[in-house]
């Protein structure tokens, strides 16, 4: 699903944000990407979305070489990658239903597809009761569920999450993580960038640890593992 070979990313003349990263992630895997702030997690995620291009090396996502991809093809790549963020990125003037439906509307899905897929995915994330609520009427955990529903409504084979529980309390975070786990069980590859130690330690999934832009550890059924 994801293959990064000798990937480096340098912003300007500074020291590299990522340096010589080699990572292979198979389809259907659940992977945590851990590290301190500034360790290169966000750069890692943005490279996979092709928000950024690597300074060196090659990245293949879903069989597509991102470094050789034409700009106009990028939207079609992104339809295969669901993204979840710390700040939810919901539209405040749209209801839960509309926020999720928007993701399908703008890629030209038919009304019929929207009417069947949106309620289905809202049931999956447990928000069928709140389809007509606006984001400011929802709790943080609920808002993150809406954003996960939006990321998953098109059934992408890959789901990326950048600090999805950064704004949530531990109990709510647990709920969100178990949701990711359920999505992973449908066959979707899930990559979660986080510095939530308890979460990583309790889930016992594959952990890739970054420090100063380098991969310092990559272990199956791993733990957060930093001394702080």
């Amino acid at each position: 699903m994801i293959s990064m070979r000798n990937v480096s990313k340098t912003y300007g003349a500074d020291k590299p944000a990522l340096y010589d990263v080699n990572v292979e992630i198979e389809q259907g895997e659940f992977v945590f990407l851990v590290g301190h702030s500034g360790s290169g997690k966000s750069t890692f995620i943005r490279l996979l979305q092709r928000e950024l291009l690597p300074s060196e090396g090659s990245i293949v996502v879903a069989g597509q070489d991102l470094t050789r991809m034409k700009n106009w093809k990028v939207p079609f790549l992104r339809r295969n990658i669901g993204c979840v963020f710390q700040d939810f990125k919901l539209l405040p003037n749209k209801t839960t239903y509309e926020n999720v439906a928007f993701a399908l509307e703008v890629i030209g899905r038919s009304k019929h597809v929207i009417r069947t897929q949106v309620p289905e995915v809202l049931r999956l994330v447990g928000l069928e009761e709140k389809i007509n609520s606006y984001p400011d009427e929802l709790s943080g955990g609920e808002q993150q569920r809406v954003s996960i529903a939006r990321a998953f409504v098109n059934r992408p084979p890959l789901l990326l999450a950048d600090e999805p529980t950064g704004n949530l309390d531990p109990a709510t975070s647990l709920g969100i993580m178990s949701l990711f786990s359920r999505i992973n069980k449908t066959g979707t590859t899930v990559l979660v960038a986080t510095h939530d130690r308890e979460m990583v330690d309790s889930m016992r999934k594959r952990v890739i640890a970054l420090e100063n832009g380098r991969v310092i550890r990559d272990q199956d059924r791993g733990v957060y593992g930093y001394g702080d």
């Binding site: 699903m1 879903a62 992104r78 084979p157």
Partner: protein, 317 residues
């Protein structure tokens, strides 16, 4: 890997026209002050375009009709020897540039005056004791451009001085329309230059206005645009509402300009026609359609150009 086929399957996209129109109208309403500014500047520039194109069409028509009427009139002195007149007549008829020559006697000249200029009060003519009008030879030309050359030939003809009513100032024995034509041409070319300068200035201002409204529209919707990019909306899907908004503004401006020009044509032109009845001041239906097309087309071009510039500068997709 199944995901490869999924990517290929995504390229087919149904375009939702209703979505685009809704988005651009909504954005137009959200930034109505800026939009109004854009509409007004486009309105003014297109109004000037339309007015100058229309008036140059009318003037062109007037020039043509004046040119058609260009003839050289040679006034003859009373009691000129018929043999001399005949000799001049023959010399003129023999000229390849001359279409025909017509002799108008003193009596005929008076009759014509009575019928045209003095049609309202023919009794003035009847009160005259002597006929003050000279007889004349009217020379019609094949091409109006030859008028000056033919005038020179006539002046050089010794027979002309023999019959001219003012042999000491032969200039005054000749009347021809070239002066009017030259003045009209000077007037229209000045009009064109002034119009072009104004049009360019206003076009630049319109572009700046559209650029600004689109920038505001992009700013107002930056969150949505971010999400659209995130979930893989195609670049054209994101851009189209903004392009459409720019075109919508200019079309509105063009429509208002057409409305103004139309009412000028409807209400003012007939009055103008009345006051200068000797000139054919009118605009054919074909010309009106032509002007409308020019305005609408230039409106669309200005709108597209303005929003395209804004999209390049402010919308990274």
């Amino acid at each position: 890997m199944s995901s490869v086929t999924r990517i290929a399957g995504c390229t087919v996209m149904a375009i939702n026209v209703g979505y685009f129109v809704r988005e651009s109208v909504q954005s137009f309403r959200r930034n109505w002050v800026m939009s109004l500014g854009a509409v007004i500047t486009i309105y003014l520039s297109l109004l000037i375009v339309g007015a100058s194109v229309g008036s140059s069409m009318i003037v062109g028509q007037v020039v043509r009709s004046v040119e058609e009427k260009v003839s050289i009139r040679i006034f003859l002195k009373d009691g000129a020897a018929p043999a001399d007149v005949d000799a001049l007549n023959k010399a003129l008829v023999g000229d390849v540039r001359v279409k025909d020559v017509k002799y108008t006697s003193k009596e005929e000249a008076l009759e014509e005056l009575k019928k045209t200029t003095l049609a309202d009060s023919p009794e003035i003519v009847d009160q005259l004791e002597v006929n003050p009008l000279p007889a004349s030879l009217d020379v019609n030309l094949k091409k109006p451009q030859d008028v000056n050359a033919v005038v020179e030939t006539i002046k050089a003809n010794p027979g002309f001085l023999k019959v001219a009513d003012r042999p000491d100032t032969p200039e005054k024995s000749l009347k021809y329309g070239q002066q009017i034509v030259n003045q009209l041409f000077a007037f229209t070319s000045a009009l064109r230059v002034i119009g072009a300068v104004f049009i360019i200035m206003l076009a630049v201002i319109s572009l700046i206005f559209i650029n600004n409204t689109i920038r505001l529209a992009i700013y107002a919707r930056r969150k949505e645009i971010g999400i659209m990019r995130l979930v893989g909306a195609s670049n054209w899907f994101i851009r189209t509402p903004f392009l459409l908004e720019g075109v919508l503004q200019s079309l509105l401006g063009a429509f208002l300009a057409l409305l103004t020009l139309g009412s000028v044509q409807w209400f003012l032109l007939p009055k103008l026609k009345e006051s200068i009845s000797f000139l054919p001041v009118s605009l054919s239906a074909g010309a009106s359609v032509q002007i409308s097309l020019i305005l609408i087309l230039s409106g669309v071009i200005i709108g597209l150009a303005g929003s395209a510039v804004a999209l390049r500068r402010y919308l990274k997709v």
